[in-house]
Symmetry: C2
Subunit: 316 residues, 2 copies
């Protein structure tokens, strides 16, 4: 972030017509955003929501409550404007794009082989990187992929440590038997692969949409575009970056804490405090898109309010 | 609320292209809102933010970090568009009005006499009632009044029970000595007045802006306009209604939990779970206005998403 813009935003914040600190986290958000945008009085006028979809060979292990064809069906739904993320993007003035990543060629079942080849994971990272519009001033990365909470749990366990059960949850809503199967699948993957390197973990147990999200989040940093992280799967992809390079997520804020059981643990591991905690567990970038409203409110106050001197208000 | 609209909204919610419950509290919010608006597929197109300002004789006891003239100065700031609530109202598409209530005639110092006469409190209630536009489809009530966290603490203690210290906090930012003074002032008021009746508590230790908020919240119910409650002072005013009539706040949702220490206790007493918890303690309706975004997101999803059948998506 730009030190002068950060300092300028801090100075401005201290002069606005409110008691010091009275806007709570909105003040921290505005200063953080100003620093990354390189101006002490930023605007949010071009938020971008980008959704990546992928299919997972591990679905063969019965880890999801939904059949794998739902991934492609939901991509069509995104394209026709009928999903939750379409409504939220529209409500908060974000343009939205969907990238379907080789849906007819699922990743390999990672209980028996690496999910992706090196070429496949690099392609997905590149697609993610290229999907970010450099003219955007805020990014949300979302995903769709039946089976991808299983993949995200395996990535989180590989990258952050802990047991399979620590990271495995009910996803779209599997029952107790399904949860036991998922946990077993994640444990098998952890035993099978050598994943000391975070990017190797992404290749072995991740998925194309996770890799693309990681690529997009890294590209956003390159372009100085702040990112609102979404739920468990997005944060698992982000954890790969965090473990690859210190401070790799400094340009990101956690949009929400999802109802997926291990998301709270994942946010804690990333050192991120969520803006919202409303029990969402949909994916698609939905929780992060909802948090665009919070960030827009923060920036509206910071950049739109007058100072005590301008208003002729006694500063107490 | 309209039982048929509630049922219709519940049915619709169950058919939308998402796993059951995956939008968490957004689903409950949409069904609640639909019931009060009397349609299973509502829109939010006319939110109203109304701010009431009053002055408090109890300021003579040194209970605020700011001088009393700041109330009128901030009213001018609201009128000129420079305050936080102006930016938030604009950001979330709400029209905003300010009502300055006899600022040159503060309430009486309630450590020695009732804050208001019966005529004064009735006038304030009426102004609040009349301030609500029946054509609005969502209401936020905000306030400005140097000294009013002291008044709100006294109202909360009188109406909900407990000790002065349970309800007294730092407001705009008093130091330890100021907090001790405030607590003492609230204790004196509780000892002085007979406040078995909630409306009598509002008269004896409330303020014009608290009474006006209570009037507005009651009027909103009459017009079937859902209300987003703001922070400590708004909720203290709402508590008067809650204790006057069971279910009087069923058309309201808590927009946020503020950093004012006793707000969490007050929300708990009202049985309200806040939508946001971002450390705001500004008043003005700011936390509730920020929550308009959350409610808009909920309604956008509920009313804009397609069903599994419409999208041709397998329902799992």
């Amino acid at each position: 972030p730009d030190a002068a813009a950060t300092q300028g935003a801090q100075d401005r914040n201290g002069q606005l017509t409110k008691p010091p600190g009275a806007l709570g986290r909105l003040e921290d958000l505005a200063i953080w955003y100003a620093g990354w945008r390189g101006t002490d009085r930023p605007q949010i006028s071009a938020p971008q929501v980008v959704i990546f979809a992928g299919n997972h060979g591990v679905c063969a292990q019965g880890v999801s409550a939904f059949p794998a064809e739902v991934t492609a069906q939901m991509v069509a739904n995104f394209e026709h404007g009928g999903a939750a993320i379409n409504q939220l993007s529209k409500a908060f003035g974000a343009k939205m794009q969907v990238h379907a990543l080789s849906l007819d060629t699922p990743t390999a079942d990672f209980t028996t082989a690496p999910a992706m080849t090196e070429a496949e994971v690099v392609t997905a990272l590149q697609i993610g990187w290229m999907a970010v519009d450099p003219a955007s001033d805020l990014l949300v990365t979302g995903e769709m992929g039946i089976g991808n909470t299983t993949s995200a749990a395996a990535v989180a366990a590989a990258v952050l440590g802990g047991q399979a059960a620590d990271w495995t949850g009910r996803g779209t809503g599997v029952d107790d038997a399904g949860l036991a199967r998922k946990t077993d699948v994640v444990a098998k993957a952890l035993a099978l692969h050598n994943m000391d390197d975070p990017l190797e973990a992404l290749r072995c147990v991740g998925g194309r949409e996770l890799a693309a999200m990681a690529g997009a989040i890294a590209a956003a940093r390159h372009h100085r575009i702040p990112v609102i992280l979404d739920g468990f799967i997005c944060c698992a992809a982000a954890a790969v970056l965090a473990k690859t390079s210190d401070g790799a997520l400094d340009h990101t804020v956690a949009g929400h804490q999802s109802a997926e059981a291990a998301h709270a643990r994942l946010l804690h591991a990333l050192g991120k405090e969520p803006l919202l905690n409303l029990g969402l567990r949909l994916g698609e970038g939905s929780g992060a898109a909802l948090a665009i409203g919070v960030l827009k409110g923060a920036i509206a106050c910071h950049s739109g309010m007058v100072t005590f001197a301008e208003a002729g208000v006694s500063a107490g």
